[in-house]
Subunit: 197 residues, 2 copies
Amino acid sequence: MNKGKLFVISGPSGAGKSTVITRLLKQLSNVYFSISATTREPRRGERDGVDYHFIGKEEFEKLIKDDQLLEYAEFVGNYYGTPAIPVDEKLNAGYDVILDIETKGAEQVMSKRPDAISIFIFPGSFEILEQRLRLRGTDSEEKILGRLAQAKIECQKAEMYDYIIINDRFETACDEVTSIITAEKCKTAGRLHLLSE
Amino acid sequence: MNKGKLFVISGPSGAGKSTVITRLLKQLSNVYFSISATTREPRRGERDGVDYHFIGKEEFEKLIKDDQLLEYAEFVGNYYGTPAIPVDEKLNAGYDVILDIETKGAEQVMSKRPDAISIFIFPGSFEILEQRLRLRGTDSEEKILGRLAQAKIECQKAEMYDYIIINDRFETACDEVTSIITAEKCKTAGRLHLLSE
């Protein structure tokens, strides 16, 4: 059996990554969506193993020390990261694994796993991004401007990715990401053995 | 505007290349199917510019001499080949171009156009290939055995291709080829300029 492939989906906050991924998971079989680990307290309604793996600070720091995280970061005193073991278990079992991570985490994964396939999702234009952030209604003006400035910095690193998706039409964006996953599985290296049967 | 991409679809005779391509052309817009040139006489029902570009031997030999063929071959005294100019005109106009050629021609194109995306279509197994060749009912036993031997040789070169399609289920094969074409157009090099707008 072939090993699965690791897909890293990233892009600026507000690009629509999680909406696209939710659709993908409905359309594709044999795909596992990686759940991050965090040391922060669960918020109301969040479930362990669904929204996050909620783990202790000592456990997280042991993962860091043992180099068992594909990526991690610290935000306001809490750790967030992707433990390698569950990802590798799924890959070895033949599942494709999708990571939804912000761009700094994506860079860490690309550096640790050069065979990961990376997809950068962009909202179409900075005007659209600004509109989306305002429509959310959750961020202050200052935070919106901060996110926009951040998005411009992130776009400068888009050339590190294998693919770019312009999410100005949701259906097209979903279709393109699905096509990338399908196409990557048709690459010659993973199929050559089928010809000798 | 982006230039189009050149797709070379090849594989053993009987793999189902042309059936898959006929379906693709119905599903995809902006795709141009390259028509070969030949010096042989049109057969009954064949139309110039549809089945082949029927050209004279002198004209063909001038194309060879001027290096204006992406690939060519001689069979029983007639030339068959792919003139470069119409392909490049379509690529420059932003169309993707699909070539359906036998494996030796495909190798010539890959060597002349390293940026071409190559897809090898295989019928699933040699048993299936044998069945298909017999079902056609057009070939003698000797010719069938010759085609099977030829297919085995061709499969040994499949590693030269970017993608392998196992055409044991027609719908899946078509979906995969469509996905490859869609995914290749999402590659970062062709889209980076969209992020600076």
